[in-house]
């Protein structure tokens, strides 16, 4: 069976935010066309691995919606038909034209990088959008009949208080998004951002466990399902039985193969994980010549795959079949953690399963490290 999930990386941004660690390229509008050309060549070279029916496609960045409109449209047109087509967007890039372009291109899910509704916190993050840009973006998308919108929120921002977070959550919920991703701000050591906010980041780190609980408690109380460590979606009953989990991301967490194209993109295919190297010029040049882009490859043996399956599967709110992770699971640690109320071992129709309790999910990283044999 072919690969059912495709990731497409669009690296262009208007501005690189201080905390960002993705492969991004600022400005360079004149390169957008050449880059989309290159993407399409790579898709032509690699597309053979794709299944006849591709389930999900995800356009990530960068700021995919910063890409020149006609180039973005050309890319969308060239993509295979799919069930879920998600595009990441920054609020300030969302215009009526863009929403029409996305609809026309088959996009049916938009992930908006809201991050916060507090102007001072958006400034700290060096985001261009203002709080009203987020609201306007959602209204425009709704006007264009998008019925699956996700908002990204960040917590632990320098200067943020628990009250700020409470208001951010309330502002986000007021927009009734189908899906929310809430991340703690990860400040990488040595970055400009970390340097600028050192002491405040330490204070935020101390407050982080409170924030996490606040996020989970608030969202689950108003009918969102905490289906993954950092992801929430409206429960089925609220939306005509639709499953609003991000199906593309579920593929990662279920340990499925995926093809990634674009500069810096990662694929996991038949026991190998390969990463296109960063460096836009190198990438474009190689594909212009019809060659594969420069890559690094890591082969994943069965034991490694099981460890990944364990660490990814335990992020979800559904039980993980023990059979899939048998070699990676430290049974004695599991029993200790069961006794401590962090892990549950049970049975479903097809055999024993392992999952985390609610408290265990708050400690998912430590618990998983413990469970790894």
């Amino acid at each position: 069976m072919g690969v059912r999930h495709l990731y497409v990386h669009l690296p262009f941004c208007a501005h690189r935010c201080g905390y960002c660690d993705f492969v991004t390229v600022v400005g360079r509008r004149e390169q957008h066309g050449a880059y989309v050309d290159a993407l399409l060549v790579e898709l032509a070279i690699e597309g053979g691995v794709l299944a006849e029916r591709v389930e999900t496609i995800f356009l990530g960045g960068g700021t995919p919606t910063f890409t020149d409109g006609s180039e973005l449209a050309r890319l969308l047109d060239a993509l295979p038909e799919t069930h879920e087509l998600t595009v990441e967007a920054n609020p300030e890039t969302v215009t009526p034209e863009l929403t029409r372009l996305l609809r026309a291109g088959g996009v049916n899910r938009v992930s908006l990088g809201a991050q916060s509704f507090r102007p001072n916190l958006l400034a700290v993050l060096e985001r261009r959008a203002r709080p009203d840009d987020v609201r306007r973006a959602v209204y425009l998308l709704r006007d264009a009949e998008f019925d699956n919108i996700s908002l990204d929120l960040l917590y632990g921002i320098p200067g943020q208080s628990a009250a700020d977070l409470e208001r951010d959550l309330a502002d986000a919920l007021a927009l009734e998004p189908e899906h929310l991703s809430c991340y703690e701000l990860e400040a990488k050591p040595g970055t400009r951002f970390t340097h600028a906010h050192g002491d405040e980041l330490v204070r935020q780190a101390d407050a982080m466990e409170g924030y996490f609980e606040q996020v989970v408690d608030t969202l689950t109380a108003v009918g969102y399902r905490w289906y993954e460590t950092a992801n929430f979606c409206l429960v089925r009953g609220r939306v005509d039985g639709r499953d609003l989990r991000a199906r593309h991301n579920l593929a990662y967490w279920w340990g499925r193969d995926y093809l990634g194209i674009g500069v810096g993109a990662v694929s996991t295919l038949a026991g190998a994980r390969r990463r296109n190297l960063p460096g836009l010029a190198r990438y474009v040049t190689a594909l212009q010549a019809g060659h594969e882009p420069p890559r690094e490859t890591e082969s994943l043996d069965e034991a490694t795959k099981e460890r990944e399956r364990l660490l990814l599967g335990l992020r979800l709110d559904e039980p993980l079949p023990v059979a899939e992770v048998a070699g990676a699971l430290d049974r004695r640690a599991a029993e200790r953690l069961v006794a401590g109320g962090l892990v549950e071992l049970s049975e479903n129709g097809s055999g024993p399963t392992v999952s985390l309790t609610r408290r265990g999910r708050f400690l998912g990283g430590g618990v998983t490290a413990e469970l790894l044999a």
Binding site: E186, A230, G260, E370
Partner: protein, 596 residues
Amino acid sequence: MEQARIRNFAIIAHIDHGKSTLADRILELTHAVPEREMREQVLDSMELERERGITIKAQAVQVRWRGHQLNLIDTPGHVDFTYEVSRSLQACEGALLLVDAAQGIEAQTLANAYLALDDELEVVPVANKIDLPQADPDAAAAELAELLGEEPERVLRISAKTGEGVEAVLDAIVERIPPPGGDPEAPGRALVFDTSYDQYRGVVAFVRVVDGSFETREPLRTMATGTSFEAEELGVLSPARRPVASLCAGEVGYVITGLKDVSRLRVGDTLTSRRRPAAEPLPGYQDVKPMVFAGIFPTDSDDYPALRDALEKLKLNDASLSYDPETSQALGFGFRCGFLGLLHMEIVRERLEREFDLDLLITAPTVAYRATTRSGEVVEVHNPAEMPREFELVEEPYIKASVIVPKDYVGAVMELANERRGSFDHLEYLSEDRVLLSYELPLGEIVLDFYDQLKSRTRGYASFDYDLAGFRPGDVTRVDILVGGEQVDALSLIIHRDAAYERGRQLVERLREEIPRQLFDVPVQAAIGSRVIARETIKAKRKDVLAKCYGGDITRKRKLLEKQKKGKKRMKQVGGVEVPQEAFLAVLNLDSERRR
């Protein structure tokens, strides 16, 4: 050399009163060392000795002065080595008692002077450092005269630094110190007053021949320990080794023994010839027993073999160091080491770290306790974890401490001594301003920070010395530390019952601060037997997640978790709790902070 022209002497002084400088000046004046080879403190050969400005190992140098052979026997300057000092003094007929004219008599001056007087040595008082602006030679001379029952005019006034008066010192040695006695015709007897280890030639003994004479290649025997060997080479230090055919009654020199184990030739033992053995050994031999004990562990368990090799090497030169393998659940493999005292411990630690480049964890020092169990068995306990939980009686070592302070600080010293369970012995005015206080104290109260406390409470004016004064019953108890309900062996301690609660509380608080929060609540307790005397809880973490994880992050996140897992394996598991080594270090440092 005929005995009448031999003088054997030592220089005794408080630390930093200029002993080594005077020795250097004597070598220079007698042309024993060419000037170009002259470096300061020639006699202190080890790097550490030079750096700390103290002498650890005694040595003997032969020089000539106006037709006489002078043998200068250098003595260690610290209380831990009192026995070595006493043996060195026994090899002499006289001693220069050196006092810093700016400081006056200090505790070690007294301790050493009493040792010399006990041995009936001729003591030549010398006031040194008279070149210093703050020197008060008259006051120093008065104190020395008072101490020795001499006329103040007989006190020599010198500056070892500038050389002023040093010739007069040499003359006084010849004039005042008697030549050695001893019977040159009797069966040979020589006192071993020091040993060292030469990696090519084995154990070298430094000896004073008392009776008879010894020749190269003579078969010898030690009279106390019964070790037999042949004198591969006899010689004198001038100051380099110079072989001689024989050493005669009254002379001082070295014997190369070829022995590979320094513990077979102990300081204080008597050498005799196997051809014509003496009937009686020289008096005063003691088997010196370590009194202070600590566990030494490598911070990296891979260094265990390196630590073992290093201790073996140190032991070659230091018969008083003892060590036995020790396994701690918390700290891994290491050694329980015995030391003569605290300075000895510090020296060993520094040499291990410096000369052998080892990173070490050292447990809180403890003293040797004697426990009598209910069944009447007596066990000597060197490690708190070995202390029987039930016992009839525990005895602990006591010391007799002498403290000299300006009279304004008498109150402070008394207060400290009382805090440390001291019992007052006597008080004596050495001069109008300076007081000698004598106390008996448990050694266990001294090993942590007594000396530092004494220094800080007397603004550095106090000087301190002590002598062991035997074992006495003590109301001590064993305190265990439990993490997650499990005992941490390396942190057990033996302590006076009155201090147990406070100390247990401190340790438990410190551990709570140092052990990172875990996935579960972790109790940290101090207990006497099954009774908990202090308790803290390390609250469980509420959050420990990797924030996000998508297709591009999986490898990195997996490696993060694998690293976290590996890190856990490196940590010491106690009661299901990962305790980082830093936590042990911090708790053990609590002691060294107190000590420093």
